[in-house]
């Protein structure tokens, strides 16, 4: 287990990258603490798998360094980095039994037979596959196959980091939940550094202590699930996390005052900087229907179970509000009230208001 440091990491799949857009990863600096559970979250093509493959050593970065416990491993191949990786599709050795599959990484490293047996049984116990140890791995169901893939990663107790590359993609929804909690439990038991790559916010938020949100090869925000939800540093994070995502409205801003269609709107704190493209961000959870505020017309009401989502039109801008209790009818005029301490100004996508102390 190790602390992982990424220093000025950049990567391009092109031989001679010139412009910024030639890079799949643009300048990544990151510190991951030993034993932490991290998630890399972002849409497809944002560079998260590239980053993962760089950490595991399957890819060599164009620029920058990777350090495991302050040891530079940038030039080392995967098998010398002592890492484990679980892939999107279960990778199992078809002709071997479950036992042999789990023992494989240890046997390749010449671990003593008795030690192998103890470790394999320990891991099998954790994954609840003990009764399958003698079965041929090819006869297993997809979720059990994926468990074995995970098991091969966890069986070595000296791994620096265990990485998961969207490991639940092929798993049935009802088993996803089970495997996810299993994973969380495993992390608490083995205390290995774990990195979980996904585009599914639920998976990231439930698994990780710290979530790294990526977009276009850049890290947009690093934070706990609560931080990401409550104070998105970028409109992208606001959009990407939360269901429905954060409302983003174009507003005008002058001398620290924010207004929408001439109507002043209170924001959480002092406005920083000036110029640029000003936008207002507020989560639907903090928009309420009231007697005064911005006048809007209800376009759609969707019942999402415990709450309803009211979509109202402020002129030609749509704003969503999460509402408990009675909801207005379609076409009805309503007033929207934004909770000031949850209303933020974004300048060119990045947050531009100071938090209320």
């Amino acid at each position: 287990m190790a602390k992982i440091t990424l220093k000025n990491l950049r990567h391009s799949y092109l031989a001679n990258p010139k412009a910024v857009q030639d890079y799949a990863l643009k300048e990544i600096d990151l510190d991951w603490q030993d034993g932490g559970a991290y998630a890399l979250l972002g849409p497809s093509g944002c560079g998260k798998s590239t980053l993962l493959n760089i950490i595991s050593g399957l890819l060599t970065p164009s620029e920058g360094h990777i350090l495991f416990d302050d040891r530079d491993v940038t030039g080392l191949p995967p098998d010398q980095r002592n890492i484990a990786q679980v892939f999107q599709f279960p990778v199992i050795y078809d002709t071997m039994t479950v036992y042999d599959n789990l023992a494989f990484p240890l046997r390749n490293r010449g671990v003593a037979q008795a030690r192998i047996d103890t470790r394999v049984r320990e891991i099998a116990e954790m994954l609840e596959v003990t009764e399958m140890l003698r079965t041929r791995a090819s006869h297993l169901s997809p979720d059990n196959k994926q468990k074995i893939s995970m098991g091969r990663g966890l069986v070595r107790d000296d791994v620096n980091v265990v990485m998961f590359d969207e490991p639940l993609t092929v798993i049935d929804p009802h088993l996803k939940w089970k495997l996810r909690s299993k994973l969380k439990e495993l992390h608490q038991r083995v205390r290995a550094t774990m990195i979980y790559v996904t585009h599914d916010q639920t998976e990231a938020l439930t698994f990780a202590d710290q979530v790294v949100v990526m977009q276009d090869g850049e890290i947009v925000q690093i934070g706990t699930p609560v931080e990401l939800f409550e104070r998105p540093q970028h409109t992208f994070v606001g959009h990407f996390i939360g269901s429905p995502g954060m409302n983003v409205l174009d507003v005008s801003e002058a001398d620290g005052k924010v207004s929408f269609n001439g109507q002043a709107i209170a924001v959480e704190g002092k406005v920083k900087g000036q110029g640029g493209h000003a936008q207002l961000g507020i989560r639907p959870e903090f928009v309420s229907l009231s007697d005064s505020g911005l006048e809007a017309r209800v376009r759609k009401v969707s019942d999402i179970g415990r709450h309803s989502v009211v979509e109202a039109m402020l002129g030609d801008v749509s704003v969503k509000a999460v509402v408990d209790g009675p909801v207005p009818a379609q076409g009805e005029a309503v007033y929207l009230d934004f909770r000031p301490d949850q209303t933020r100004l974004y300048r060119d996508g990045w947050i531009a208001t100071e938090a209320t102390p």
Partner: protein, 287 residues
């Protein structure tokens, strides 16, 4: 209400007719010949199993069968590993992929009798490129019309040249279907190249290899045209394989009865060995 009638049989009829005309009736004709004796004029006499007994006891048949098994054995033992090695060495990506694939496929596109003729000329000691080189440049006495060993080396080499590509292409198809994640996982698990081959590539190629081995077995076991054109079964009887011998009996000596009996035995052996191969190679899958 459920209507019950026998109309459905009509749907099966075309297939039955087809199978009857392309398999059943021809085979039954052979069966018919195999139990009778004829002296021409369409006169037939019942002979029972005499021909079968005669063939099974004939030393000539034993010799041809022995040569046939030796030929097929050598073909498989050379072509299968060689095909796998070439497939492993071929690039998986890039502009060389189509070049390799087409080069590999070329020998298979050449008609069988042309292959025989090509190799015949190729190996002529006085004017053939290979024959001349071996005899006059390297200094090996090589003449397949005189030496059985030279004849065997030539037909084996010819078949390897002609058909290894089939194993290559099938193995290659198996190899490219392996997702990258398997190789990456193996790297991370610290597997040696041999283990990657043994536990990833070979198992993934198994299905296509089964097909390749079956096809190569059947084709080489039934081979006729190429050795016939190349050596005509000679020198002496040294390259007279089963099919060549069969044609000699049927058309050379016009012994229809024994030839028919031999065909049926030949067919039964091919079928039996194919079945054995298939059962042995797929037995792990049914569990």
């Amino acid at each position: 209400m459920k209507t019950e009638n026998q109309k459905a049989w009509f749907f099966v009829l075309p297939v039955l007719v087809l199978v009857a005309f392309n398999a059943l009736i021809p085979i039954m004709t052979v069966v018919n010949y195999s139990v009778q004796e004829t002296f021409g004029d369409n006169l037939f006499f019942w002979e029972g199993l005499t021909w079968f007994e005669q063939i099974l006891r004939s030393e000539r048949f034993h010799a041809a069968l022995g040569r046939q098994f030796l030929f097929t054995f050598l073909i498989l033992i050379i072509e299968v590993p060689l095909g796998i090695i070439i497939a492993l060495a071929m690039p998986r990506k890039g502009i060389w992929v189509p070049v390799c694939l087409v080069t590999m496929a070329l020998p298979m596109l050449i008609p069988w009798n042309v292959v025989g003729a090509m190799w015949n000329i190729f190996t002529l000691p006085d004017i053939g490129l290979l024959g001349y080189l071996l005899n006059n440049v390297i200094g090996i006495d090589y003449n397949m019309t005189q030496s059985p060993v030279a004849a065997w080396v030539t037909i084996i080499t010819m078949d390897v040249w002609h058909w290894t590509s089939l194993v290559v292409l099938l193995s290659y198809a198996g190899l490219v279907s392996i997702p990258d994640a398997y190789y990456q996982a193996a790297k991370i698990d610290g597997a040696s190249p041999w283990k990657v081959f043994r536990y990833i590539q070979l198992p993934k190629m198994k299905t296509v290899l089964t097909i390749a081995i079956l096809l190569r077995f059947m084709d080489s076991f039934n081979i006729y045209t190429e050795p016939f054109v190349l050596t005509g079964g000679g020198p002496g009887n040294s390259t007279t394989l089963l099919s060549i011998d069969l044609v000699k009996i049927a058309l050379g000596q016009f012994d229809l009865g024994p030839a028919a009996a031999m065909s049926l035995i030949y067919f039964a052996i091919t079928l039996l060995v194919s079945w054995l191969f298939y059962t042995l190679m797929t037995k792990d899958d049914v569990k």
